[in-house]
């Protein structure tokens, strides 16, 4: 007989079996009665000899069916009935799970997009980056990720000599004013070597890649658009390849459009890609290190081989060019590491934190299950007595818990979708541009797989313990109700353990978020070294055709500064070659007069070109000497420098800097420059970074065509943007105000602040959620135990226990759990907070104040949670309590 036929004829088969067994019993009874037994005795004897009728029937049926699936279906049917019968329980459980799973899935979507998803290049694991490190930089591990530049001649030598790479390519950030697509507007761009896209393995979606001959200064001017800019700025024009645009003062033909999926985080905001069109110094000077280099390992080469080969090339370059390369070290970092390096620790800490939330949610639901399981003991005893095997009971409870988990998972997925978009929306565009992979954070197969695993994990976690417990209890106990008065027992002990774990987990989270809050406060309270209030910053780029020489730029600067200063609400205008606090900027090698150095081993420090009034407008304190002055530091005056305190401390070791002389070593034509002033340190590299030694030169003697202005305002800095733009247009309608931001905005968007504030808020919310869940757990357990001890409490009160004794009794129970939880939590936190070391600033991972204050707060909240049931216990009416029994 085939299976299918069996399946359809089974109803009849089952009926046959029942009828047959019935007949068997009747026949037996009849025979026994015939032998002289009473009917009643005969019936029970017949059953005794037959054994368990239900179990026999079930076993008989099991022979026929695909029992696993059928049991499952019946478990599900029964479970659904039970869950619908207790909507309150089900809703609380589902919501708790949904919160836990939703938060985890949302964070996982982001973690996946950032850390797990392969980069959208061909064989991305073979892509590496190269950087040259100077002796002062090597050592600090994270510097190799911050620093990323090489000199062009060195790059050419690597390309020529290094066989371990299939290709090496360089790029550099750039910005243009774009004409020919609506209003003239500043756009971000990048210059690359012509093999840049082919090294990544990316082909334009329209048109072609760069070709040889386009990367020389005199070559044809061409550009490739990013997909986004093609759509936004050119309306997705299908004939875009025939169009010519104007970038600054150059006419450029568009030769291609990049695919929509293309991203390159290090220049994430670049809309227009052009071939490198550098000349002069940048091409020839080996000591000018400005170009980040990426590379693709050759098919048969390993990273180790490549690094070894690079080391030998580096050694030979150092021998050949001691002045430039003597102290240079070449470091290779995988492209992925460089791209996600900064967000990786943040994400991993968040992922860990949210994992704790899920564990606490599980513990809470498990608690609910245990309480409910206690209420269902009778049901299970009856089912067991009727012949349900232990396996069936366990699978029944697991089916229920998995169904709850699945419902929580579905709701959680909705929460996660919403949460993920919130997570991404909270990232400012300027930062999102450099983490383009985060835009990709949404539900995909990997996220769904994670969700499924989380659902099964939670379902099994909170379903299994009660299931095992219930089925263990069943054998020894009879159908009678357990005695009401006892508060002990395995079940309560397990629930106590769960509450202890919840308290411990939430304490860890709270301590983590406490440390984050302290770090954030430390960063925000750090004195940047200047007055950041009422300050507007923006940039202006002077194209070389209209402003070919330094005097042209100086003339523009003078006129623009005068116009700006005359605006109402403007208190001062100054300029710098770098926008403060952005971490950008150039550095230079120098020697101090009277401190001989080995060739190539000169010191190197930051260099900034500032307007004469920069220090006074920024309110950077003058520590010694004088500021730059119009007359003493004019274009033709002797060359002077101002240094900051960090510089004086680092290189003069306590000697008086004023009057000391230094010389730059990049050119033999350089003369000694005298130090005329010392100013306070500014947190130029970022609010969480140490003060860096910095040299200042007067703008009049070291002029740039890209000028960053800072405007001190009387009122709101944002309100002068319009007038500043109008003033600029009045001087030259071709010029554009680039990236006007208030200093407050710059601070808020700087990685040092944002990469702290963001996880601080998140971990804070996780910790709050954890605390609430843990307190619900504690409250629930204490209330339950009070209700179980009503009789005991009644007797105690009847025997003369005072209200405060009862209070002490109940609170004592809560306190025991809380103290245990706090002890375990503190111990765990000692280890766990070490993992978030890299996110902390100005606070130790073991900060005793945070540890203690968080523990005290948690203890206080726990007391409140226990007080409610304690008050109820106090009001126990002894008469009623005793009658209740």
């Amino acid at each position: 007989m085939n299976r299918l036929k069996q399946l359809f004829s089974r109803g009849r088969l089952y009926g046959d079996l029942s009828e047959e067994i019935q007949a068997h019993l009747e026949e037996k009874v009849e025979e026994l009665v015939g032998n002289g037994m009473s009917r009643k005795e005969a019936e029970s004897a017949a059953r005794r000899e037959f054994g368990n009728v239900t179990l026999t029937k079930e076993e008989g049926r099991d022979v026929w069916r695909w029992s696993f699936i059928e049991n499952l279906l019946s478990d599900i049917r029964y479970g659904l009935r039970i869950l619908f019968a207790n909507p309150g329980f089900s809703i609380v459980a589902i919501l708790t799970i949904a919160l836990g799973i939703g938060a985890n899935t949302a964070i996982f979507s982001v973690v996946y997009a950032a850390l797990l998803r392969p980069l959208p290049y061909s064989q991305p694991e073979r892509l590496i980056t190269l950087t040259e490190l100077r002796p002062q930089q090597s050592g600090a591990a994270d510097v190799s990720k911050q620093t990323w530049d090489s000199s062009y001649p060195d790059y050419l030598d690597w390309t020529r000599r290094c066989k371990s790479f299939q290709a090496l390519a360089g790029f550099s950030g750039d910005g243009f004013v774009l004409f020919g697509a609506g209003e003239p507007e500043p756009v971000s761009g990048a210059q690359t070597t012509i093999n840049f896209f082919s090294t990544l393995g990316v082909k334009p979606f329209l048109g072609r890649d760069f070709v040889v001959g386009e990367d020389i200064a005199k070559g044809p001017k061409v550009a490739i658009l990013s997909y986004g800019s093609w759509i936004r700025r050119f309306g997705g024009d299908p004939h875009i390849l025939d169009r010519t645009i104007q970038l600054d003062d150059k006419s450029v033909s568009i030769i291609g459009v990049l695919p929509r999926t293309f991203e390159f985080a290090p220049r994430g905001n670049a809309e227009i890609w052009v071939p490198l069109h550098i000349q002069d110094d940048l091409v020839t000077r080996r000591s000018l290190r400005w170009m980040p280099v990426i590379g693709r390992l050759a098919q048969d080469a390993t990273q180790r081989q490549a690094q070894a080969e690079l080391n030998s090339i580096t050694a030979s370059l150092a021998a050949a060019y001691p002045q430039e390369n003597a102290a240079i070290q070449v470091v290779m970092v995988p492209l992925r590491e460089r791209i996600v390096g900064q967000v990786q620790p943040v994400l991993l800490v968040l992922f860990g934190a949210v994992g704790f939330v899920l564990l606490i949610a599980c513990a809470n639901v498990m608690n609910l299950f245990l309480v409910r399981a206690a209420g269902r003991r009778r049901e299970f005893h009856i089912r067991a007595a009727l012949g349900a095997g232990r396996g069936r009971l366990i699978s029944q409870l697991l089916a229920e818990s998995l169904m709850l988990a699945a419902a929580g998972g579905v709701l959680g997925l909705i929460l996660a979708e919403w949460g993920t978009s919130l997570l991404i929306a909270a990232i400012p565009d300027t930062l999102l541009a450099f983490t383009p992979f985060l835009r990709d954070a949404h539900t995909n197969l990997a996220v769904l797989a994670f969700l499924a695993i989380a659902v099964i994990f939670t379902g099994v976690t909170f379903g299994l313990a009660p299931a095992l417990q219930i089925s263990r209890g069943q054998e020894s106990e009879t159908l009678k109700e357990e005695t009401r008065a006892s508060a002990g027992g395995v079940r309560t002990r397990l629930r106590g353990l769960l509450v202890v774990a919840e308290i411990a987990f939430s304490l860890v989270l709270l301590i983590g978020s406490g440390l984050m809050v302290k770090s954030l406060a430390a960063v925000l309270n750090r004195d940047p070294g200047f007055d950041a209030k009422s300050l507007l910053a923006f940039s202006v780029n002077l194209p070389p055709t209209t402003y070919p020489k330094d005097p042209d730029a100086i003339r523009f600067d003078k006129e623009f500064t005068e116009r700006l200063s005359a605006l109402p609400g403007v208190a001062g205008v100054a300029s710098n070659s770098v926008v403060p606090l952005t971490g950008n900027g150039a550095s230079i090698r120098f020697v101090v007069e009277g401190q001989p150095v080995e060739k190539g081993h000169e010191n190197e420090c930051n260099i900034r070109d500032v307007s004469n009034n920069y220090f006074s407008v920024m309110k950077i304190p003058l520590r010694a000497g004088r500021q730059f002055a119009d007359s003493a530091d004019s274009t033709t005056a002797p060359q002077h420098v101002v240094v900051n305190e960090a510089w004086a401390k680092e290189y003069l070791h306590g000697q008086d800097p004023i009057g000391k002389r230094i010389k730059f070593t990049y050119s033999p034509k350089e003369n000694y420059r005298e130090i005329v002033g010392v100013v306070g340190n500014t947190a130029d590299a970022g609010l969480d970074r140490p003060d860096e030694p910095t040299l200042f030169l007067p703008f009049s003697q070291d002029t740039n065509s890209f000028i960053n202005y800072v405007v001190r305002t009387g009122g709101s800095p944002a309100s002068v943007v319009g007038e500043a733009r109008a003033s600029l247009h009045a001087i030259d309608p071709q010029l554009v105000l680039i990236q006007p931001f208030t200093m407050d905005q710059i601070i808020a968007q700087s990685p040092s602040v944002f990469l702290r504030r963001y996880p601080t808020y998140l971990i804070g919310s996780f910790a709050a959620l954890a605390l609430i869940l843990a307190m619900i757990g504690l409250y629930g357990l204490v209330s339950y135990s009070v209700s179980q001890r009503t009789r005991e409490l009644g007797i105690r009160i009847a025997l003369g226990a005072q209200q405060k004794d009862v209070m002490r009794l109940v609170l004592g129970e809560g306190a025991r759990l809380t103290i245990l939880g706090l002890v375990f939590g503190l111990l765990a936190a000692l280890g766990v907070t070490q993992l978030m070391q890299s996110l902390l600033f100005g606070v130790s991972a073991l900060d005793p104040v945070t540890f203690a204050s968080v523990a005290i707060v948690l203890a206080l909240v726990a007391v409140v949670a226990c007080c409610i049931p304690a008050r109820r216990a106090m009001r126990t009416d002894p008469a009623a309590a005793l009658r209740y029994e």
């Binding site: 047959e20 067994i21 007949a23 037959f50 054994g51 008989g60 022979v63």
Partner: protein, 113 residues
């Protein structure tokens, strides 16, 4: 415990005894139970109920077949009969069992001397 006693029968023993009994004469469930008990001189305390799952297994494997009939006490009962496949199966099982028994006996005899 009864449960354990029943488990002491090796797997397939019950089926073998059922087949042997039915081969002699087609029987319905109750009669089969009584027959096995009596034949074993009540040495085997088989739970009567356990016959039924075993019969269901044999039915499923098509080693026996069942037809509704009337018992001596005038009840509608299912009468079980060994099929050709069942007879062959029984032969195989019995010879296997005898070999096993012989083996066990030898080992036990050796142990005594």
């Amino acid at each position: 415990m009864r449960d354990n006693e029943q488990r002491d029968l090796f797997p397939g023993a019950l089926e073998m005894m059922i087949l042997r009994t039915l081969k002699r004469q087609p029987l319905h469930g109750y009669a089969l139970a009584q027959r096995i008990k009596r034949t074993s001189n009540d040495l085997l305390q088989i739970e009567e109920g356990s016959l039924y799952p075993a019969l269901q297994r044999l039915l499923k494997e098509e080693l026996v077949k069942a037809e509704w009939g009337v018992s001596s006490t005038n009840r509608r009962v299912r009468i079980y009969k060994v099929t050709a496949a069942g007879a062959k199966h029984l032969e195989r099982e019995v010879s296997r069992f005898e070999r096993m028994l012989e083996g066990i006996t030898r080992v036990l005899a050796r142990g005594e001397s």
